[in-house]
């Protein structure tokens, strides 16, 4: 899981000292020094499901797409419909290459003057370079005719910090620090208001399956907001939560993780992200390739499975059906909520039906695994 930029000191988020002071175990992730756990992954995970947890996500990328051509450009650059978004809406989307491979999965926020795109930390430079390439090469690539000068792309990552509060107590805790009417902010909506006196974009979004909010703020606001939230949430049991539990929380929800479950060799159809591919859009990057795949039959599928023997699924473990290798595990762990091992992986389409019995190879042995439907944990 570690990502090492050889020779370079990892970057720090504004909250680095807070994590170290709290006794966090720090690792390097996407070039950043990040907390993987504080009190322990399992305890932190369970606290998010039962109360609330606080996450430093300032390593993630944010960029702005603005200008008179922004809506048409974004509509072409991602597979989902975004041109029709209203101010205050957020939408999950995928950026594809012409061959249908996924460049990144992102959340798009429609603000008054721009689209704010939030991207995976490891993909920031790649995404900005790709979008800028599309902007410049666009008229020649079959997209809608818009002047490249009518689209302005700005990388805001260094000037944006991100704190998430996730768990059933999130609204109660956050309400103590803001005058915004949080009950009026529905899932995948956002408002801009003050939290503990600091300006913030407050969105009801997250990566855990719990109710919660993501707060986009200036870097100078990160430490005061972090401390204010921990203090306000103390009576509810709010604790800081690291990347370790962030991964087990999203795995239980079967949310894909870029770099494990999706990457440039996988298409959104293979990954079960059909719902963000809008074939009735006039044109978008990757549309023809995805149409072909849909019409010919998607050859493999990202499935969720549970082991029926002792073991833990890990990225890279082969999956067999009828003695033949049919796929690989892409994510897996012991689910803290279930106390059972769960995993995700790609298998040939014929083996993807829920109920299919597979074998997972772990250290030279075969462990039976059953394809399951839906999330591992219902919320």
């Amino acid at each position: 899981m570690t990502d090492s930029a050889a020779g370079r000191t990892p970057k720090r988020t504004p909250l680095y000292d807070e994590h170290v002071a709290a006794g966090a175990r720090m690792i390097e992730f996407a070039g950043f020094a990040m907390p993987v756990e504080y009190s322990g992954i399992i305890a932190e995970h369970k606290t998010v499901r039962s109360a609330a947890g606080l996450f430093d996500l300032s390593h993630m990328g944010e960029f702005s797409v603005s200008g008179p051509g922004a809506a048409a450009f974004m509509e072409w650059a991602v597979t989902n419909k975004v041109a029709n978004m209203k101010e205050g809406q957020a939408r999950y989307a995928v950026i594809c290459k012409p061959d249908g491979g996924i460049v990144d999965d992102v959340v798009v926020y429609r603000r008054a003057d721009d689209f704010l795109i939030v991207a995976n930390a490891a993909n920031i430079e790649k995404d900005v370079a790709w979008l800028d390439y599309l902007r410049r090469s666009w008229p020649g690539e079959g997209g809608p005719p818009v002047n490249p000068e009518d689209v302005v792309i700005r990388d805001l990552s260094d000037e944006t910090a991100l704190i998430a509060i996730q768990g059933p107590r999130s609204e109660a805790v956050l309400a103590r620090l803001t005058g915004a009417d949080l009950s009026a902010v529905r899932p995948f909506r956002f408002v801009e208001d003050r939290v503990a006196g600091h300006r913030a974009l407050i969105s009801r979004t997250g990566y855990t399956g719990e109710d919660g909010f993501e707060l986009y703020i200036a870097p100078e606001a990160a430490v005061p907001l972090w401390r204010a939230l921990l203090e306000a949430g103390g009576p509810d049991g709010l604790v800081p939560v690291g990347l370790g539990a962030r991964d087990t929380l999203r795995l239980e929800m079967r949310f894909p993780l870029y770099g494990n479950d999706i990457d440039e060799t996988t298409t959104p159809l293979e990954a079960g992200l059909d719902f963000v591919v809008k074939f009735d859009k006039e044109g978008f990057v990757g549309k023809e390739a995805l149409e072909r795949q849909r019409d010919q039959g998607v050859p493999r599928r990202l499935v969720g499975f549970k082991l029926e023997g002792r073991g833990i699924p890990r990225q890279g473990y082969p999956l067999f059906a009828g003695g033949r290798e049919v796929g690989r595990v892409t994510s897996g762990s012991m689910s803290p909520s279930l106390g059972e091992p769960v995993g995700m992986g790609y298998v040939e389409a014929a083996c993807a039906e829920p109920g299919t019995l597979l074998d997972m190879e772990m250290r030279g042995r075969r462990i039976p695994a059953r394809v399951v439907e839906g999330r591992f944990v219902e919320r």
Binding site: M1, E37, I41, I42, R310, G311, I312, R363
Partner: protein
């Protein structure tokens, strides 16, 4: 954190000599580095290993960690309690978190391991 009656290797495993047998586990430092242990892959009793060979695996939430035989020998006992309670390795690494007992091929191999002071120096620098 460094029981005096044990020997240690560079892979953060400990050995307690019990006559011709060696009781083996991982150290406090090792379990702390791993985090929550959620699964332990134990060897088959009767199987044999050379010193340095992986004979078990301890899995934390995030990672798989091979456990290497500190001495050569034959597995005569494994800690079945770890099947239901892998967290014993975190809670009591030198006691109830023991992993396996070997019948040693050559007890003099123990002389090549670190004593408590040597291991402490290795960990603390």
């Amino acid at each position: 954190m460094y029981p005096e009656d044990l020997r240690y290797n560079k892979e953060h495993e400990w050995v307690r000599r019990e006559n011709g047998r060696a009781r083996i586990g991982i150290t406090h430092y090792a379990q702390e580095e791993l985090g929550d242990v959620v699964f332990v892959d134990l060897p088959e009793p009767g199987s044999t290993f050379q010193a340095g060979e992986a004979f078990a695996a301890v899995e934390s939430v995030k990672a798989v960690s091979d456990i290497f035989a500190p001495v050569s020998g034959r597995v005569v006992e494994v800690n079945e309690a770890l099947a239901d309670r892998p967290e014993l390795i975190n809670e009591d690494p030198y006691g109830e978190g023991w992993i396996a007992v070997f019948e040693m091929d050559d007890p003099s191999e123990l002389d090549g391991l670190l004593d408590a002071e040597g291991y402490r120096k290795m960990v603390e620098g």
